[in-house]
């Protein structure tokens, strides 16, 4: 009955099982591919964010160490100056 109804559309070939089978294959293939792509992007983004975070933390710590060493050197020099006076 569906075939009869749809046959009014002259250019269409309703309920063609071969086409439907392909379309069903695309459903799982397409969804799988998109989710794999997205999962990979999420993983790479998270890893990159982690690396950037670590690098920034490391750089901050190094800067703090350098600043602390400088401050210590200045304090030491000042102490020596005071002692010399």
């Amino acid at each position: 009955m569906l075939n009869t109804l749809l046959s009014v559309f002259k250019n269409l070939d309703p309920m063609n099982w071969n086409t439907i089978k392909h379309a069903l294959t695309f459903l799982w293939q397409g969804l799988l591919a998109i989710f794999v792509t997205i999962a990979l992007i999420i993983i790479v983004v998270k890893l990159t964010a982690l690396c950037i975070d670590k690098a920034q933390k490391f750089s901050k710590e190094r800067q703090e160490r350098i600043d602390a060493a400088k401050a210590e050197a200045i304090a030491k020099a000042e102490q020596e100056n005071t002692q010399a006076e």
């Binding site: 749809l6 009014v8 559309f9 250019n11 269409l12 070939d13 309703p14 309920m15 063609n16 086409t19 439907i20 392909h22 379309a23 069903l24 695309f26 459903l27 293939q29 397409g30 969804l31 591919a33 998109i34 989710f35 794999v36 792509t37 997205i38 990979l40 992007i41 999420i42 790479v44 983004v45 998270k46 990159t48 964010a49 950037i52 975070d53 920034q56």
Partner: protein, 378 residues
């Protein structure tokens, strides 16, 4: 005096043209009066009238000594030969998008993927109705809620319904605020719509913002190489925005460049709106299938958010899922509006924008995937 009446005689022979004038008039009305995607619907509406005037020289084929019409020429060069226009428009779109909200919460990316469900379900329905595979896939891509992607896929798959697909894709994008809220309410309970989400407004490092477009391009290029033209242009536009050294280029891409391409694209699309090809029962079916695709996209996004809630401690407001369709930024605004209606102090906009921009990327990837899977079979 016969030459003065020639046009009228042609119309009497082909009254379909008058129907196209009416359609053009409706598009112009929607653009001006209802403010629906005016940048595209207005040129398309005017173009529909222009190409459906008897003996219109703008669509001359250039064959057999016939003059090559300006719209034919624009179509052949800008769309048919290389799909340059829709692709170049993606540079502008990429430059407009801020991926910050997505990078703050990358799991929102999943919603962008889930909200492409409508595309695949519509392909199945179109195949059941009897459309050949290439047409079914081109109709399904209306669900990408993304005009340039729809044009590119329909052209590459050599669909017989490029005109109706383009018109339906842009018209439904304009109808997102009408279509989506009803579906969102049907798929969610009042309690779910009131779920509050914390927005952690941490700033995304500049390096991450610069690396993101490159990462997306490389990953999608490796898995879905056919999506590279779309994703590549989108991400190139975004890199212009984020690199920080090409401010004027980024601004040009977002404004002048996008406007010029949109203007040309709108009028060029009208080439496909010639009465003989456009007026058919299939056009009506494509309109119905387009609506179906948008509805199932929304259902896919909302249901995925509900599914994610089963496994995560921090609950997601399922309305956010609806923003996973790519209609940017309209879908995010719709989510905010529906959320505020339920609870005036619950602002979902930033989360919705995250899902929305992920939908923009996902739809471009799906477009490429469909081309890659179906083109060898056509």
């Amino acid at each position: 005096m016969d030459f003065l009446l020639q046009g009228f005689k042609e119309i009497a022979n082909d009254p379909k043209m008058i129907a196209m004038w009416i359609i053009g008039g409706i598009l112009i009305y929607l653009a001006i009066k209802k403010d629906m995607e005016p940048a595209l619907l207005l040129p398309m509406g005017f173009g529909a009238i222009l190409v459906n005037l008897p003996l219109s020289p703008v669509i001359g084929s250039g064959a057999n000594g016939e003059h090559l019409g300006i719209i034919t020429s624009l179509f052949k060069v800008g769309i048919e030969a290389s799909e340059a226009m829709p692709l170049l428009l993606f540079i502008g779109i990429g430059a407009m998008i801020d991926f910050g909200p997505l990078l703050t919460n990358p799991k929102l990316f999943i919603l962008g993927g889930a909200a492409q469900l409508g595309i695949f379900v519509t392909i199945i329905l179109a195949a059941m109705i009897g459309f050949p595979l290439n047409d079914a896939a081109s109709i399904g891509i209306i669900g990408a809620a993304d005009g340039p992607t729809a044009i590119l896929v329909a052209m590459q798959l050599m669909s017989n319904f490029v005109g109706p697909i383009m018109v339906v894709a842009y018209s439904y994008m304009a109808l997102v605020p009408i279509v989506q809220p009803a579906v969102m309410k049907l798929c969610t309970t009042k309690k779910e719509r009131r779920i509050r989400m914390k927005y952690n407004a941490k700033s995304v490092p500049k390096l991450m913002r610069i690396l993101f477009p490159i990462i997306v391009t490389v990953v999608s290029g490796l898995i879905a190489p056919d999506s590279l033209s779309l994703v590549g242009m989108l991400m190139f536009g975004n890199l212009l925005r984020e690199c920080g050294v090409l401010g004027s280029l980024s601004e040009t891409a977002q404004t002048t460049f996008s406007n010029i391409i949109t203007l040309l694209l709108g009028i060029t699309i009208s080439f496909q709106m010639q009465a003989d090809a456009f007026l058919s029962i299939e056009t009506l079916i494509i309109m119905a299938l387009g609506l179906f695709a948008f509805v199932f996209d929304t259902v896919g996004g909302v249901m995925c958010a509900k599914l994610m809630n089963l496994f995560s401690k921090e609950k997601i407001n399922p309305l956010i899922g609806a923003a996973g369709i790519s209609a940017f930024p309209m879908a995010a605004r719709v989510v905010e509006k529906v959320g505020i209606k339920e609870d005036p102090s619950n602002h979902l906009l930033m989360h919705a924008v995250g899902a929305n921009v992920s939908g923009q990327i996902a739809s471009a990837i799906v477009g490429g995937l469909i081309i890659g899977i179906i083109l060898p079979l056509v």
